[in-house]
């Protein structure tokens, strides 16, 4: 599978070339264009099988949609047997896309609304971030991507990759994804006064060694800016 990302950092779009036998799963609604003849299968996403697995998938997808903002469904595109194909994918918001190669050793924890696409051997699980995650403003759920293969992640704004060694603090609204080797702690920006008055509110302190991807803009801030300007 080959891929290229064009038009970053503002209106990034990824063109994925599928070899015979390949398939790619993408967030519902993100297909821009594709070669003719690709088969599409719509499903809830989640990899457990069996009746209870399916029920859990359904529940997780439902919760993801309402608390994480991620679409309820995913689409898997496969070229007809023996043929190759091409699909172009892009998210709905202005921003960047990053392509991450998973090698089976580490997992990547991804903010729920940043999932764009993944190849067939990548396992995506929904993880409840805990109460602290709920207050982070980005939704209560993370996705954990593991396995071997390709993962595409989108964000609002440009993506910046940081190699964390030790401690690093990030505004929670700007976290896109991070290696599972990093521990994190949600806390106030400073003392009580700083937390309430600085406008920074809640921040996330990372600890350990690993990659961290952040986004240069924050959708919540933009919405807060627009709302007072809407007609009364």
């Amino acid at each position: 599978m080959q891929q290229t990302i064009e038009f970053g950092p503002s209106y990034a779009m990824s063109t994925i070339d599928l070899a015979p036998g390949d398939s790619v799963t993408v967030e519902a609604g993100s297909m821009v264009g594709m070669s003719d003849g690709l088969e599409i299968k719509t499903s809830i996403g989640g990899n457990k099988a069996g009746f209870f697995g399916a029920l859990l998938n359904f529940l997780m997808a439902f919760i993801r949609k309402f608390l994480g903002g991620e679409s309820f469904f995913v689409n898997t595109y496969t070229p007809p047997p023996g043929q190759s194909g091409q699909i172009m994918v892009a998210p709905s918001l202005a921003g960047d896309i990053v392509h991450y190669q998973l090698d089976g050793n580490r997992s990547l924890i991804v903010q729920a609304s940043s999932y764009l696409a993944s190849s067939k051997d990548v396992v995506i699980k929904t993880k409840f971030g805990g109460l602290k995650s709920l207050f982070s403003g980005e939704g209560a759920f993370w996705l954990v991507a593991s396995g071997t293969g390709d993962l595409w992640v989108n964000c609002y704004g440009a993506i910046h990759e940081i190699n964390v060694q030790g401690k690093f603090t990030v505004d929670t609204g700007h976290i896109v994804a991070f290696d599972d080797t990093l521990d994190y702690r949600i806390k106030g920006a400073g003392g009580l006064k700083a937390t309430l008055m600085s406008g920074e509110g809640i921040v996330c302190e990372f600890n350990g060694n690993g990659k961290l991807f952040i986004q240069s803009r924050n959708l919540g801030s933009m919405i807060s800016w627009i709302i007072p300007r809407l007609p009364a």
């Binding site: 503002s10 519902a28 297909m31 689409n75 202005a94 809407l230």
Partner: protein, 228 residues
């Protein structure tokens, strides 16, 4: 007259450079800056006569298209006028040389006066595709500036290619299109792709890397409800 595009691809600006006697025509409201001596003339965009008036009125009532177009004249001295669309994204210049180009209604920004713009009924198949009843048919000679939501990518179609309807900017007339379901009925309703557009033939197709309807669908629910 020619266009220069700056600040591509996110916040592009089209600068029309006019020689004496040149003019440039643009969508209402698109002008950002102009030299002081430039003379602006406003006319109904749908054409002349009662037929034109009614057509233009219908279009602006149902589709939010502007009723008027503005033509900027340089007259006796060279000058510059710059244009930008409302949505962030790229602008491209397509050189019209006597052939046609079919353009998505919200993508027309500005053109030289040798380019004629006509609104074309897209038929109901267009409506189900994107909610747009009209396309714009451009023909004639001169530069045509088109804007998009997102970045613009040119695709050379030779055979067939499928595009999500919200991403179409423009296409050459060598291509025919049909609106079809993306897959099974289940997929059509739940995939969020719905209906897609299948282009066949040989020609260039221009797409935008973001979809205004999808953006609206994501941001809209986060805004407070309208009061009415």
């Amino acid at each position: 007259m020619h266009f220069e595009i700056e600040f591509s691809p996110a916040y592009a600006l089209a600068i029309a450079k006019l020689n004496p006697g040149d003019a440039v025509m643009a969508e209402s409201g698109a002008m950002i800056t102009q030299d002081a001596h430039i003379r602006m003339e406003t006319s109904a965009s749908a054409g002349k006569g009662v037929g034109g008036f009614l057509k233009g009125l219908g279009r602006s009532m149902f589709l939010g298209e502007s009723f008027f177009r503005n033509t900027f004249h340089a007259d006796s001295a060279a000058g510059e006028v710059s244009f930008a669309p409302s949505l962030p994204g790229d602008i491209m210049v397509y050189p019209m040389q006597g052939q046609e180009l079919i353009v998505q209604q919200q993508s027309f920004l500005a053109s030289g006066t040798g380019v004629e713009i006509e609104t074309k009924w897209g038929g109901f198949k267009s409506f189900f595709g994107e909610g747009r009843l009209f396309w714009i048919r451009a023909f004639g000679n001169g530069p045509l500036a088109l804007n998009a939501f997102g970045a613009i990518k040119e695709i050379e179609v030779n055979g067939s290619y499928v595009i999500d309807t919200g991403h179409i900017v423009a296409f050459e007339p060598g291509l025919t299109f049909s609106i079809k379901r993306v897959g099974s009925w289940f997929s059509t309703f739940f995939s969020s792709e719905g209906l897609v557009c299948r282009f066949e033939g040989k020609g260039k197709l221009y797409i935008q890397s973001r979809n205004p309807a999808a953006f609206g669908g994501l941001v809209g629910p986060k805004l407070p409800p309208r009061n009415n």
